[in-house]
C-alpha cells in the first residue's frame, strides 16, 4: 500500500479523498493556488504546496508544477479527483513516466472514452446498444430519410456543433426535409457549422448510470445504478440510488452492459457508464466517465463500499476484494448538490463570505463539502459548495430525511441552491418517483413559484428583520459602537429579563 498520496484537486473532492487516505494510514499532500491558502483541503492535509495564482490554468491545471511537487514530496501516487486533470491523457501519461502511480485508468482508456466518436465506434463492436442514428453528418437528404425510416419516427435532428440549439423532433416522414433544412440554418447561424445528424428520439428519457470497478487482473464488477435525471442546464442537481424507474431485470441487463463497456477498453479502476433509458425501458449507451463521479456517495451509502478505498487498492495492484455476488444494497440514498448560486436569478453564481454556517447532521446524513464559517467563496472555481447525501431504510424515509436536512442547512452571506433542492424534493412528481430528464423543463415554473412562495407570516418576519437591522445599524453607527458590542448589550438585556 502507498505511504503518501498527492491529491491534484481542491474543494470537497480533495477532502473526500483525503479522508479515505487517512483511514488507510496514508499521508496526504495538498496543492493550492493563491486563492486557497487557508482552504479546508490545505488545513486538512499533512503537507501542502503552493502551485500558482488563482486561475486554474495557472495552478490546478498546471501539471508540470504538480509533478514537481509530487517529486519533491516523495509522493507514490496521485489522485486526480474529478474535473481539472482527471481526464487528461497527457497528465496520466506524464505521471506514469515519472514513476508515480496515476489513480485512474490507463491513458488509452481515457482517450477512447473521452472522444465521443471513438467511444461510439468502440461500443458498436460490442453487444451494448447505442442510440440508433447516422454516424456521419447528413450529406444526402434522401439517404438521411432512409435512415430515419429505418430507425422509426419520431427521430431527432441534432446539430454537429453540439448543445441544445438546432435540435428538432420530427414525427413523420413528410415533415422530414423541411425540418432538416431549418435545423441546418439554425445550426449554421449558431455555430457556423450547418451539418446535422439524425438520431432516434427517446421518449421520456432517464439518465441512468452504472458504477463499475475493475482491477488489473481482469475482474470487473458493477455496483448498481444511480438515477440522475434531475438536471438543469445539462447539469445534474439531484441523484439517487436505487432508481425508482429500474426493475431488477433491467438492472441486471444494464449492469452487464456496463461491465462489457468497461471491458471493451480494458478499463482498470473506478468508472461510470452512462445510459439513456426511454419510457419503454430500452437503454442506450451515452458515454463513460473515466474517473470518480461527483455523485459517487449515493452508491457508497447503499452498498457500504468506500469507492475511493477501492480505487487506491486497485491502483496499488491489489485484486478486487469483492465479487459481483457480494454486492448487496440496503435502503435508499439521495444526493442534493449545493451550489453557490442564486436560483431566483437564473442560477447566477454567488460569491462572498460565509457569515454563518450550520451543516445538517444526524443519522443517515452526510455532507461532503469543503466550507467553513468565515471562508470567502471566490469566483475562480466551480460553484459547488458540497453535496448533501441522505440515506434511510426506504425511499420515502430518505425523502423525509432530505427535506429535514435541507431545512436545517443554513449558509448565511451567499445565495445557494439549498431551497431549490427543497422545492424539488417536495415536488409531488419527484416524491412519486415518476420523473424523467424533462422534469426541470416541465415543472420549472412550479418549482420557482414554490421557491418564491411566501406567507404573510414570512413577509412580516422579513419586513420586521429589515426594520430591526436598519435601526440597529443606524443606532450603532450613530453611537459608534461596534457590532460586537451591540450584540453583547442586546444579549445582556435578554439575560436580564424575567418572565
Amino acid at each position: 500500500m502507498f505511504k503518501k498520496i498527492l491529491i491534484a484537486n481542491r474543494g470537497e473532492i480533495a477532502l473526500r479523498v483525503m479522508r479515505t487516505c487517512r483511514e488507510l494510514g496514508i499521508e496526504v499532500v495538498a496543492v493550492f493556488s493563491d486563492a486557497d491558502r487557508t482552504a479546508p483541503h490545505v488545513l486538512f492535509a499533512d503537507e501542502a504546496y503552493h502551485i500558482g495564482p488563482a486561475p486554474s490554468t495557472e495552478s490546478y491545471l498546471n501539471y508540470e508544477k504538480i509533478l514537481e511537487v509530487a517529486r519533491e514530496s516523495g509522493t507514490e501516487a496521485i489522485h486526480p479527483g474529478y474535473g481539472f486533470l482527471s481526464e487528461n491523457t497527457d497528465f496520466a501519461r506524464e505521471v506514469s513516466k515519472a514513476g508515480i502511480v496515476f489513480i485512474g485508468p490507463s491513458a488509452s482508456a481515457i482517450k477512447i472514452m473521452g472522444d465521443k466518436t471513438m467511444a461510439r465506434q468502440t461500443m458498436l463492436k460490442t453487444q451494448v446498444p447505442v442510440v440508433p442514428g447516422t454516424q456521419e453528418p447528413i450529406a444526402d437528404i434522401s439517404q438521411a430519410l432512409k435512415v430515419a425510416k429505418e430507425i422509426g419516427f419520431p427521430v431527432l435532428i441534432k446539430a454537429a456543433g453540439g448543445g441544445g440549439k438546432g435540435m428538432r423532433i420530427v414525427n413523420s416522414a413528410d415533415e422530414f426535409e423541411d425540418a432538416v433544412g431549418k435545423a441546418e440554418r439554425e445550426s449554421q447561424s449558431a455555430f457556423g457549422d450547418g451539418r446535422v445528424y439524425v438520431e432516434k428520439y427517446l421518449e421520456e428519457p432517464h439518465h441512468i448510470e452504472f458504477q463499475i470497478l475493475a482491477d488489473a487482473h481482469g475482474n470487473t464488477i458493477h455496483l448498481n445504478e444511480r438515477e440522475c435525471s434531475i438536471q438543469r442546464r445539462y447539469q445534474k442537481v439531484i441523484e439517487e440510488s436505487p432508481s425508482p424507474f429500474i426493475d431488477e431485470d433491467l438492472r441486471s441487463k444494464m449492469g452487464q452492459a456496463a461491465v462489457e463497456t468497461a471491458e471493451s477498453c480494458n478499463y482498470v479502476g473506478a468508472g461510470t457508464v452512462e445510459f439513456l433509458v426511454d419510457k419503454h425501458r430500452n437503454f442506450y449507451f451515452l458515454e463513460m466517465n473515466t474517473r470518480l463521479q461527483v455523485e459517487h456517495p449515493v452508491t457508497e451509502m447503499v452498498t457500504g463500499i468506500d469507492l475511493v478505498a477501492e480505487q487506491i487498492r486497485i491502483a496499488s495492484g491489489q485484486t478486487l476484494s469483492i465479487k459481483q455476488t457480494d454486492i448487496c444494497t440496503t435502503g435508499h440514498a439521495i444526493e442534493c448538490r449545493i451550489y453557490a448560486e442564486d436560483a431566483a436569478h437564473d442560477f447566477a453564481p454567488s460569491t462572498g463570505e460565509i457569515v454563518m454556517l450550520q451543516i445538517p447532521d444526524g443519522a443517515g446524513t452526510r455532507f461532503d463539502g469543503a466550507i467553513r464559517q468565515g471562508i470567502e467563496i471566490t469566483p475562480y472555481y466551480d460553484p459547488m459548495l458540497g453535496k448533501l447525501i441522505c440515506w434511510a431504510k426506504d425511499r420515502d424515509s430518505a425523502l423525509n430525511r432530505s427535506e429535514r436536512a435541507l431545512r436545517e442547512f443554513y449558509i448565511g452571506g451567499i445565495e445557494t441552491t439549498i431551497q431549490f433542492c427543497r422545492s424539488v424534493v417536495r415536488h409531488p412528481v419527484f416524491r412519486k418517483g415518476t420523473y424523467d430528464t424533462h422534469f426541470y423543463t416541465n415543472f420549472r415554473q412550479e418549482l420557482h413559484a414554490d421557491l418564491a412562495a411566501s406567507t404573510d407570516e414570512i413577509l412580516l418576519v422579513a419586513g420586521g428583520s429589515l426594520y430591526h437591522h436598519q435601526n440597529q445599524i443606524k443606532h450603532s453607527s450613530n453611537s459608534s459602537t461596534s457590532a460586537k458590542k451591540t450584540r453583547s448589550n442586546w444579549v445582556s438585556a435578554q439575560l436580564g429579563r424575567n418572565d
Binding site: 453557490a340 442564486d342 431566483a344 436569478h345 437564473d346 447566477a348 453564481p349 454567488s350 460569491t351 462572498g352 463570505e353 457569515v355 454563518m356 464559517q373 469566483p379 475562480y380 472555481y381 466551480d382 460553484p383 435541507l406 431545512r407 442547512f409 443554513y410 448565511g412 452571506g413 445565495e415 439549498i418 431551497q419 427543497r422 421557491l451 418564491a452 411566501s454 404573510d456 407570516e457 414570512i458 413577509l459 412580516l460 418576519v461 422579513a462 419586513g463 420586521g464 428583520s465 429589515l466 426594520y467 430591526h468 437591522h469 436598519q470 440597529q472 457590532a483 451591540t486 450584540r487 442586546w490 444579549v491 438585556a493 435578554q494 429579563r497
Partner: protein, 166 residues
Amino acid sequence: MKFEINTGQRSIEANFSIDSNELIIITGENELRFEATQVQPGVYSILMNNRSFVAGVCPSEANRVNVNGTPINLELLDAVHLHLRELGWDALKEVKAGLISAQIPGLVTKIFHAPGDEVKEGDPLFLIEAMKMENEIKSPVAGIVKKIGVAEGQTVEKGTNIIEIV
C-alpha cells in the same frame, strides 16, 4: 409607524411600534410580538409570537432578506414613501432602471450593444464568465444604450458599471 412590505408580487401593510426589546407588529386584526437577537452580524434569531425563524439580511443587497433559507426581495416602504407613491413615484421601478452593473466578479466575454442601440426589456446585454460558467445578463428596462463602461475581455469586480441605459 405605518409600513408597507412589498415584494413586487404582493404587499402587506403593518404598523410597527417598539415596546422595550420587542417590536409590536399590528396587521389587520392581528397583533404580533416580534423579537430579534443577533446570532452573527446580519443574522438574527426571530421569535414572532413564539414562532422561531432565522433571518439573514443580505450583505450585498439591502432589500433582500433570507427567512429560514428562503430569499425574499422586498421593499419596506414607510409613510413618506407611501405618500410619494400616491403622488406617482414608483420606488420599485426606480431601482431597476439606469445603470446595469456586474452582479458577480468575472470576465466580460461579450457585449451585445454599442452606444445608441435601442434595447427592449429582456434583451441580452452582455456575457460574464465566472466559476466556469457563462452568464447572460438581460436588460431590466427598455431604452437607449447611453454608455458602455468596459471592454470585452476585461475582468471586472462586483458592482462595476457595465452599461447605462436611458
